[in-house]
Assembly symmetry: C2
Homo-oligomer: 430 residues x 2
């Protein structure tokens, strides 16, 4: 089912590291048209798009207080408890990311510091479609509230009955978010970026989505709205050794494969014996999976790689730079130290990726498509910007000024030099 590649040569790695890409030619034009409609017609375009794309007849975009109350009533008690545990863990992990104000006196009288300041207005997009991703709302809204963002706006597509999934509304309510709009797809990104009568324009947009959403995020980013990251299809690499329980390995591969037919899963191992055991488990477990057709398609983009040395294996994984990396080996701590490119790493036999997807505390919004080589997942920092400050005393400038004058002169920027010279002349005269 998953193809096996034994001892791939280094020249094949580039091809093996490629992610499935299914970009339609027409995508960019469709998305540009949607953005332009939202720009010119605002809310009425959004209501029309809800009809066209979500098959939902709605007259107002904002979720009402009554709808929220109803949702809060309807969510199962056990699920509510679970959500609270997850929220508590996510809060703990993200609170610990708060950084103290950093003040340094770099030279006598030269004080420099750096302060994290909340991004004022942020937008969170929660996809609808096949799964109601309230977990993504936890992952984005918790750090946003911890950062102190003043305005947090949520957009998510309505179901054909015009409603929003109750668990999503309950989660928003629990986190103190009241601005929730029934808008999905590229039009949601356009609305958050441009602003409409109902929906406030934001400074940064977060959240995953399909190709239309991703393309819209790229386009509004070029126009100046910040975005979290260009999220592609989800992916996992599993490193497992001969001691790994093949049923755990197979379950982890399947958990990723069920995300979407464009997902990619990789098993990377030094153990030839492990491979048939995992394959057998995959066949058994796949049949039980409600989303088995999706998983089966994802396996077509996926493979099992056998290596003959640990170094090669680790080099490959770093070259692949997986969004999620599960290291299910006896020496997982040692291997983990050698990983330089990954979004999030799961260590040991009892650490499934789904723990981090939902409830352990780490964030599940992570760089895909090899972006982990240069980018981080979402953290508290994603909702802050860091402003630097400096204050120099008269004496400080007496020491530092001549350095600045010499450098400015060497760069032929005499106005830069003069802004120091004019101060030094008064500083010494006074």
């Amino acid at each position: 089912m998953m193809k096996v590649i034994e001892y791939p040569e280094k020249k094949e790695w580039d091809t093996l590291c490629k992610r499935p890409q299914i970009e339609l030619d027409s995508l960019e034009n469709s998305v540009k048209e949607i953005i332009s409609q939202v720009k010119t017609r605002g809310d009425s375009a959004l209501i029309e798009f809800a009809q066209r794309f979500d098959k939902a007849s709605i007259s107002t975009l904002e979720v009402t207080k009554d709808e929220i109350d109803e949702a809060v009533q309807s969510v199962d008690k056990e699920l509510k408890k679970a959500l609270l545990v997850a929220a508590s863990n996510i809060k703990k992990f993200h609170s610990a990311q708060q950084r103290p104000l950093l003040e340094v006196e770099t030279m006598p009288g030269v004080y420099c510091w750096r302060k994290g300041v909340a991004i004022e207005r942020v937008g969170i997009y929660i996809p609808g479609g096949s799964a109601p991703l309230f977990s993504t709302l936890l992952m984005l809204a918790i750090p946003a509230t911890l950062a102190g963002c003043k305005e947090i706006v949520v957009c998510t597509p309505p179901s054909p009955n015009g409603k929003i999934n109750a668990a999503i509304l309950y989660t928003a309510h629990q986190l103190g978010i009241s601005k929730i709009y029934k808008v999905g797809g590229a039009q949601a990104i356009a609305a958050l970026s441009i602003g409409t009568k109902s929906i406030a324009k934001v400074n940064k947009i977060f959240g995953p989505g399909n190709q239309y959403v991703t393309k819209a995020k790229q386009l509004v980013n070029q126009q100046g709205t910040a975005i979290d990251m260009p999220a592609g299809p989800s992916e996992v690499a599993v490193i497992a050794d001969e001691l790994a329980d093949a049923s755990f390995v197979a379950a982890d591969l399947l958990a990723q494969a069920e995300h979407g037919s464009d997902s990619q899963v990789m098993l990377v191992t030094l153990s030839k014996q492990l491979i048939p055991k995992v394959q057998q488990e995959l066949s058994i477990q796949l049949e039980k999976l409600p989303r088995k057709e999706i998983a089966r398609k994802a396996f077509e983009n996926s493979c099992i790689l056998l290596f003959d040395s640990e170094n090669k294996m680790i080099d490959f994984v770093n070259e692949y730079a997986p969004e999620h990396l599960i290291i299910n080996t006896a020496n997982c701590d040692q291997l983990s130290d050698k990983i330089i490119n990954a979004g999030s790493v799961f260590l040991g036999a009892y650490t499934p990726e789904s723990a981090g997807d939902y409830a352990s505390g780490t964030n599940h919004t992570l760089p895909t498509n090899g972006q982990a080589k240069a980018c981080s997942g979402i953290s508290l920092d994603s909702f802050l910007k860091f402003i630097t400050y400096q204050k120099i005393t008269k004496n400080g400038l007496n020491t530092l000024g001549p350095v600045v004058e010499l450098m400015a002169q060497a760069e032929e920027l005499m106005g830069h030099k003069e802004s120091v010279t004019i101060r030094l002349s008064k500083a010494t005269n006074k």
Copy 2:
């Protein structure tokens, strides 16, 4: 010279916050063609472009050890000393940004942590043109070395004599950087992103540049190479009160205006009396400036704004979100606390922006064009990515697992649930 706008109404603010934009229609196609040439012909395209765009006949791209030695000899002793002072301050400020490993036990047996890992290969672009910006090399290469980036590649355009400015080579040498290439413009960005025979492909590209460079950075970013930020023309806002020395204020405005004809400078004040004094100083100081024609053009994009209340003034500045903000007032500390959107803030009469441009320790690579609402300037973090890790014990999963199962089921992702269930069944059996 600079137009004065008294008591602008809020509906005018949007227009006042607009930056000058001079994007040529042909820009994107020209840049795409350059990238495609570098992709297909590699080094030979780069050598041709050096001839065409830089009027430089070169046969090899890499700066030789002899050229570096020669530059090290030729740089003025006093400038060398100044560079070392600046480097030392920048190192101090950026070293202090190192973060401890963050480990949190979010629940008993659930360990989560986050670790900064250097981006392996980074590219630094240093523009040539009217000013040899060795200061930018300090600002980018120092945090890159502190972060521990394994490969640091510098590209900068050659002069018509085929050489690189000596101060740039000396600075690189001092910082331990030996890979310097004579490549400028969009072709440098293409080479760093794609890789050629001479120039290694990098994971992230840093550095300012003209419109071609900026467009190339945007395009390669869409193809998956990370970039620092889309750097636009430089800008400053100065808040000054009636006690501010008009000659300091004028010098600060001129220092920014000399950067380029597309720079923008704003004076924002509550003091009507200050305005004519500053205007007079501007006339006097402008005439002495070698780059006065550039500055004069920049003033056409610029203005002096008079406000009648401190709150309105601060609201405007936050809406403008300047790259640089100088607060030259008696109450600068109080005002500073109200600033939520700015790249870097300079406080008091003796803190000219040029101190931070060169030598105080803060970074001078900062968000422009209102991006300060959501983005930070360059810091140590820009050269790291943060990987999250988690390790869960068997007992930890016994507690956390049921939470994950409930949430996965509610999101209709049964494969996610099963990856926990299968472990829990074995964890309790054993």
